[in-house]
Symmetry: C2
Subunit: 349 residues, 2 copies
């Protein structure tokens, strides 16, 4: 597994050529005769030369600045774990000259997002990790970054891959399928299921739709007479939730399982009519209210989107790209963790 390490000086000696020329070959800086070029290339291949990243790094001695742009955790606790991920990555790469700044935008305000984008651009960072919550605006920002030679990584929401841009997140369609499977496991087949959309923010619409599609895809594949209906809660106000759900169950008394496509599952606590008080529910995200609902039995399973890890990886990818010339994966899909009241603890923090 291990093998001898060669330095540029070693290679130069082997080739009977100065290390300056070796370096020129390695970095394709030209001004090398093809005779020398061939000789050195052959040796490099032969010994599978791996440059000493430590030395390279020291010589470069550049500090890189990264900006992380994400929704304000104070406005939506879903984002709070991201801070830990960012801090962890920051601690790890600080010693390698990567400096990380953070900016929060209001997830309900495009204006706030645009303003923070301008702030980030003004600081001319080497890389930006951000959550493209608002599609059009995010696209524009990505364009700005590209024009300014800023390397990008996005997480949580899909924007686009390619060039200087990477995506870290989850397969939402599949996570909908998983919710379907879980309810199927709990209830058996030939049932009527409901997809409940609870969110006031339009920018989550695509997420919710993808999840619903996956869910319906799973139940469609069963071909056992199962049925899926959809209900959208107009407001996240808890009193409205109760009324709305009672209304819904009057129209669909035979629904025997719920899939809540957002992190608002906890709103069902006390909002379900007595007839359906103990109906199985699958929801999303390990926010404290949901964990309480998991413990109390209102929610049966949560699907964990691992925001901490998403942010951590986004920062890590860019840091390693700048510090160690590592390639950034175009797309990284995280595992879709299934959480119940007994295993949630390991996914916190």
């Amino acid at each position: 597994m291990s093998k001898k390490k060669y330095t540029i000086a070693d290679i130069a000696a082997m080739a009977g050529i100065s290390k300056g020329t070796v370096d020129r070959v390695i970095h394709k800086r030209g001004k090398v005769s093809k005779k020398a070029h061939e000789k050195i290339t052959r040796i490099l291949k032969e010994i599978d030369y791996q440059p000493n990243l430590v030395a390279r790094n020291l010589k470069k001695n550049k500090t890189y600045t990264l900006y992380v742009l994400l929704p304000d955790p104070a406005k939506d606790p879903y984002w709070a774990p991201c801070l830990e991920g960012i801090t962890a990555a920051s601690d790890e790469f600080q010693a390698f000259g990567v400096m990380i700044d953070t900016a929060f935008f209001d997830p309900s305000s495009i204006k706030s997002f645009n303003s923070k984008c301008r702030q980030v651009l003004k600081n001319k960072p080497d890389g930006v990790v951000f959550v493209p919550l608002f599609y059009q605006e995010a696209l524009a920002f990505a364009g700005d970054c590209e024009r300014n030679d800023i390397t990008l990584a996005t997480f949580n929401s899909y924007l686009q891959e390619g060039q200087a841009s990477s995506f870290i997140g989850q397969d939402l369609h599949q996570s909908g399928r998983i919710a379907g499977k879980l309810l199927h496991q709990l209830l058996g087949g030939d049932r009527k299921m409901a997809v409940i959309h609870v969110d006031e923010a339009f920018q989550n619409a695509i997420h919710m739709q993808e999840k619903e599609k996956g869910f319906r895809d799973y139940y469609g594949g069963l071909n056992d007479g199962s049925e899926v209906v959809t209900h959208t809660l107009p407001h996240k106000d808890i009193r409205n939730a109760g009324k709305s759900m009672q209304h819904f169950f009057k129209a669909h008394p035979d629904v025997s399982g719920l899939f809540v496509t957002t992190s608002k599952g906890y709103l069902l606590e006390g909002a379900l009519p007595g007839t359906h008080a103990h109906i199985p529910v699958v929801g999303y995200d390990l926010i404290t209210q949901n964990i309480d609902a998991l413990k109390s039995g209102t929610l049966d399973f949560l699907i964990h989107q691992n925001p901490r890890q998403q942010a951590y990886l986004g920062v890590s990818y860019l840091s390693e790209y700048f510090a160690f010339d590592k390639q950034i994966p175009d797309r990284k899909l995280l595992p879709i963790d299934i959480i119940n009241s007994e295993n949630y603890i390991h996914y916190l923090q």
Copy 2:
């Protein structure tokens, strides 16, 4: 978040003293007047000096050797993912002068383990990552390592923490509870459950017992008349499994859920009598046979012990310890992943 970086030369200039003296203070090498010592200490604290790890590393320019000692994946496929984890860590830290060798022992042979231990010691590595499958022998080996100033990390099985030794694994008791919760979710309360131990290897006994305890702990806490019985399959031979299970169900026809405490859950495929063919089963580990059983419906849930990540972290911890003077955590408990037929794919590889 980011802050200015100071070098030893900076500090020396600030204190009006040469960098040699600054270095002596930093490393407590003595031979410094208390006047100079105070002055430098104050400045160090003031600016929160963080040495440039890159430069430090380059100067040291030492290559560290690690040995990973684990059961042969050819004898038990459970261990195969560890190799990927080791390779990933190896690729990552090779550039920082960490070389990794691997040795396999036969998980059914203490002699093989001892022989490999001797081989490892003969190579005098700086650190060893190993699976302490055989408790007494592992303890002896750990002692040998300590005497030879070899830093240790263990994974999968618990040995002991402290001094130069770290443990990476899972909370087995809790994973038993999780299995209990899953079956409870699938079946509801007031049921009779069975713990099935399927393994020929005595060294897994402690693992199996811990899981059973957790499982019983969960069902005991329900206080709803639930009952748990235990059944041990003497051999892993599939024909015996069928006979043994038929026997078992004759004695306990009212058992409505199974918890298999090892990775041998797939052996139940076709081994359950018609009366109990579709009884819910929770098992362990993402080996291919189990995934097939998950797809076919013989198994409902698997608990993932993440051997890949365990090995990866073991190697990473030691590598970072040697390369970057990072502290090794005494104990790292990994999340206990719940797997069904829809989300297993993300946990492979």
